[in-house]
C-alpha cells in the first residue's frame, strides 16, 4: 500500500513540474534587430521587433502583436539587399517566431532570396492563369426606373 502511494505521488510530482516548465513566457532568445545569414541556397534575412502592450490583457497584446509584426517588416526593408518587387514591396516574407512575456511581444520575420523567388514565380503563375482565363464577369440586375 505504501509503495503504491509513493509511486503515485512520484508520478504526480513529475507531471506538475513538467507543466510548470512549459508554462510561462521567457523571451530571452528574442532581441530586436536584424541578421543576415549566408546559406547554400542564398542569403537569409531575419528581423525581430518588440512592442509593448499598454496593459496585461489579450486585447492590448493583440495590438502590440500587430505593431511588432509591422515593425519587424519595417526593419527588413532597411536591410541592404533584401529582395523586393519592382515597385519596392516586400515578397516572400514569413513569420518564423513569436514570443509573449507579460506585456512584451516579440515577432521575428524571415525572407530569403529563395522565398522571394518562390513568391515571384507564384505571382507570375497566377497572373498567367488570369490572363489565359479572365475572372468571370458578375451579372448585375437592371435597376428599376433606369429607362
Amino acid at each position: 500500500m505504501c509503495r503504491h502511494l509513493t509511486s503515485l505521488l512520484g508520478v504526480v510530482l513529475l507531471v506538475s513540474s513538467a507543466s510548470m516548465a512549459l508554462a510561462g513566457g521567457d523571451c530571452s532568445g528574442f532581441a530586436p534587430g536584424t541578421k543576415v545569414v549566408n546559406e547554400a541556397d542564398g542569403k537569409h534575412f531575419y528581423a525581430t521587433a518588440r512592442a509593448e502592450a499598454l496593459e496585461d490583457s489579450d486585447g492590448s497584446r493583440e495590438i502590440a502583436e500587430s505593431e511588432a509584426r509591422i515593425g519587424a517588416r519595417t526593419f527588413l526593408l532597411k536591410i541592404p539587399g533584401v529582395p523586393r518587387t519592382p515597385n519596392g514591396k516586400l515578397q516572400g516574407v514569413t513569420e518564423v517566431g513569436k514570443c509573449v512575456a507579460g506585456t512584451d511581444v516579440y515577432v521575428t520575420v524571415h525572407v530569403s532570396q529563395h522565398s522571394a523567388a518562390q513568391a515571384q514565380a507564384l505571382r507570375r503563375q497566377i497572373a498567367d492563369s488570369l490572363r489565359r482565363v479572365p475572372v468571370l464577369p458578375v451579372a448585375t440586375p437592371s435597376r428599376i426606373g433606369a429607362d
Binding site: H4, G71, K89, A119, Q125, I126, L136, P141, R143
Partner: protein, 227 residues
C-alpha cells in the same frame, strides 16, 4: 471483470480496481470529442517546392467566444479569409510607417511697473501610423481542413499547389465558355428591388432569447493527407 483482472494482487486490490476503472473511463471521454490539440498545423504558413511550382498550406486560428453554431460559423469564415490573406501577404506586401509630431508653443508675457513675467506652455503631440497592406486577385486557393475546440478556437487550413490552379482555371474556363455559347437571359425586376425591401431594425422589437446551440469539437484533416 474487475475482480478477475485484479486477482493476484495481494494488497493493492482497491487501487488496482480504481486504476482499471479510470483506464476505461478516461479514454472513453477522450475519444468522444476531438479538438484542435492534435491538429498538425498552428497559426503559420508552410511553403515547399514541388514539381511545377510551389505548394503552400496556410493555417489561421481565430478565437471562438461562444459555444454556439453561429459564432463557430463566423469564426470559420474569418479563419478562412485570414488564411488566404496569409498567402496574399507572402506574394507581395507593402509596409508603411509614418511619424507625425505636432508641437505647439504658447507664450504669455506680462509686464507691470517694475516686474516682468513670462510663461511658456509647450505641448507636443506625436502620432505614429503603421500600415501593412496586401491585395491581389488570386485563383486556386482551396480550403483543406479545419478543427474546432468548443468555446476556444477555430483553425482553418487553406492550400495551393499548381494542380489546384489548373483545376480552378479549367472550371472558370468551362463556365465562361458555357456563358458565351448561351448567354443567360437579361435580368429584369418587376417588383421592388431587394435594396428597397431592406429596412432598419425596429427599436421596439424585443430581442429574442434562447439557449446557445453548441457545436461539438472536431478535427477534420483527411484532405491534408492527400494534398
Amino acid at each position: 471483470m474487475l475482480q478477475g483482472t485484479c486477482r493476484g494482487y495481494r494488497s493493492g486490490g482497491v487501487i488496482c480496481a480504481l486504476s482499471v476503472a479510470l483506464c476505461v473511463a478516461v479514454p472513453g471521454r477522450a475519444y468522444a470529442e476531438k479538438t484542435c490539440d492534435d491538429y498538425p498545423y498552428g497559426d503559420e504558413i508552410n511553403i515547399e517546392d514541388v514539381e511545377g511550382g510551389t505548394r503552400i498550406i496556410a493555417t489561421s486560428s481565430v478565437a471562438v467566444d461562444f459555444d454556439d453554431v453561429d459564432a463557430v460559423n463566423d469564426a470559420r469564415d474569418e479563419a478562412t479569409i485570414s488564411a488566404k490573406a496569409k498567402i496574399v501577404h507572402f506574394l507581395e506586401e507593402g509596409v508603411c510607417s509614418d511619424d507625425e509630431i505636432d508641437k505647439a508653443v504658447a507664450t504669455t508675457k506680462s509686464m507691470q511697473v517694475d516686474t516682468k513675467s513670462v510663461q511658456r506652455d509647450e505641448t507636443k503631440k506625436k502620432v505614429k501610423k503603421l500600415c501593412n497592406s496586401a491585395s491581389a486577385v488570386v485563383r486556386g486557393f482551396v480550403p483543406l481542413a479545419s478543427c474546432l475546440t468548443p468555446g476556444k478556437e477555430m483553425r482553418v487550413s487553406v492550400g495551393y499547389k499548381p494542380e489546384t490552379l489548373k483545376q480552378a482555371e479549367g472550371v472558370a474556363g468551362a463556365i465562361g465558355n458555357s456563358i458565351n455559347r448561351t448567354p443567360p437571359p437579361g435580368a429584369t425586376s418587376h417588383g421592388p428591388s431587394t435594396a428597397d425591401k431592406a429596412t432598419a431594425p425596429s427599436a421596439d422589437k424585443p430581442r429574442a432569447t434562447g439557449p446557445l446551440n453548441p457545436a461539438p469539437g472536431y478535427s477534420d484533416t483527411k484532405n491534408l493527407d492527400k494534398f
